[in-house]
Symmetry: C2
């Protein structure tokens, strides 16, 4: 295992400390390391909290700030955070207007966020993200997995919360964005969890895992490596079929790297995805391209399509100030 | 070779097309593919042009836009662009106020930018970036290499150009920022150039290349993999010694991933670098952490230190709108 670390046991702590130091104008790190929170809370705003296993950076800590999350609870690498982390985060960032949890659909996360919600003596609701159309049920999941589409839910709901939307409406908006979002990914290499010390899975030099999960979980099939055009056709096609979009529909297009794929290749995939979208009469009107929801150093990418309308586009475009995404301020 | 591509020969073209499509609000791609330029030119502003071999994305195309570059000329992967690319770019983006070339110190780039400058019938000047303190002379270089510090030069000079600074002053500012900037990197794995099809160099499972170049060129030494703290001490220490900073000096700290290293590890390196800076009485007042000047999918990182003062901090903080970096607008 070749990694830029000191000790396997301290990777998360040291990484969070580095993150909090580098972005001290945006976030603070809880003294016990249980959560990262927005430095400047906004009174009267519903608090948005997400979290999950680490190793997907910048998700979720990189999305804390104006127009997105109020707190994120990082578990160890690919391991759910504990209910006490979410409870502590909720108590730290709720200004009395309630808490919205945004949870990726994995069994551990679901159970622990549910336990936290049950114990929380404040108004709260939960949006579950399950945008991965690759497989129904999976290694760590009952039902579909939550993957890169989580970013879109966090952003659009975060922008609405910033504008003062109430808890029930935010929950409804988050559910609607999730329903309008579909993703699928492909892996060309495995990743190595520091505590494990060896690759999560084996893949041959000429193979790819189509429909891979963001922890390296198996997807739909293991086949010979295809061309960018073939891969884009399969990933984009699966997302489009799931969403059943009408011709002329405007969409957000997120081409997301898993960590080990150069940006140069991600833009080849953008170009390839565009050909598929054009062939379907669908128009990408907002683009996000980069490694935003990662699986450590796994090579590969996912394609996420989210149906856009005027309200969601306006929310997307509104001011945003996080470590990983920033515009308008 | 496992890459998300269609054909080795079309990687660059397709990637540029994807880039131009995704960022159509910021850039346009020359119809012959020779350069990418800022969509909305600003009359009376000195035009900033950079370029170099591809494979370092988001450098340089990702830094085109308000507050940074006006055009970038991408060569094939790790191959210098040709003089006609720079000439065409200069003719496209010069609004009559002159052209400043920002060139990383590699023999091919130096020769071709010089040829373009000699042929250019417009006021022009050139800033040469050579921030890599690892080695004097190298595989592709006479003198020190230009690496991640290029980003700082492009940003600070770009901000000054946006404010209306003239050509001679921009040249002097760029030279000063370059002189105040020092970088050094480490590689844990090689990268694979698509046209070559096999790794650029071999490195054992327990080794690292200290002082590596951004094309995988040899650095100072090949040694056993060290801890994050040890690596940060060597890289940061080398940069600090080069700059001979006084205690109390404020600096920009850029922890730059080479493409295959997870963000989680880069923040471990931020944390480690901070300990070294504190020990030297130097204070990082601006941070940039991410894979900005890459070597395709190479694992590893570089650390760049740039001495800051009030004018450069103000320029850094001024509005910026590029594909890869954006704030204040």
């Amino acid at each position: 295992m070749k990694k830029l670390i000191n000790h396997v046991d301290s990777v998360l702590t040291e990484s969070l400390q580095g993150f909090a130091t580098a972005h001290a104008n945006i976030v603070t790190l809880d003294s016990a390391g249980r959560f990262v929170q927005r430095r400047h809370l906004k009174a009267g705003k519903v608090a948005l909290i997400s979290g999950g296993g680490s190793g997907h950076e910048p998700l979720h800590t990189g999305f804390i700030g104006h127009g997105m999350l109020d707190a994120a609870c990082p578990g160890q690498v690919f391991t759910s955070p504990t209910p006490d982390q979410m409870l502590a985060a909720a108590e730290a960032v709720d200004t009395g207007t309630g808490v919205l949890f945004i949870v990726k659909n994995y069994s551990g996360d679901m159970m622990n966020f549910q336990m936290a919600a049950d114990m929380l003596d404040r108004p709260h609701a939960t949006v579950i993200v399950n945008d991965d159309v690759a497989v129904e049920n999976s290694t760590y999941t009952t039902g579909r997995r939550g993957v890169a589409g989580t970013l879109l839910v966090e952003r659009i709901v975060g922008a609405a919360a910033e504008r003062g939307m109430g808890l029930a409406d935010l929950k409804a908006l988050g559910d609607a964005v999730n329903k309008n979002t579909a993703s699928m990914g492909v892996a060309l290499s495995s990743c190595t969890v520091p505590a494990a010390g060896s690759p999560t899975f084996h893949i041959s030099d000429d193979e790819m895992e189509v429909g891979v999960g963001i922890h390296g979980e198996p997807g739909r099939r293991r086949v010979k490596l295809g061309s960018a055009d073939e891969i884009a056709a399969e990933l984009t096609g699966a997302a489009l079929r799931d969403l059943e979009l009408r011709s002329g529909q405007e969409v957000f297009l997120l081409v997301n790297g898993f960590g080990g794929t150069p940006l140069m290749e991600l833009y080849v995939m953008v170009n390839a995805a565009h050909k598929v979208l054009e062939g379907s009469g669908v128009k990408a009107v907002r683009h996000l391209t980069g490694s935003y929801v990662t699986s450590l150093e796994m090579a590969g990418c996912s394609i996420t399509i989210c149906a856009a309308d005027q309200p969601t586009l306006e929310l997307w475009d509104s001011p945003l100030h996080t470590a990983a995404l920033r515009w308008g301020m």
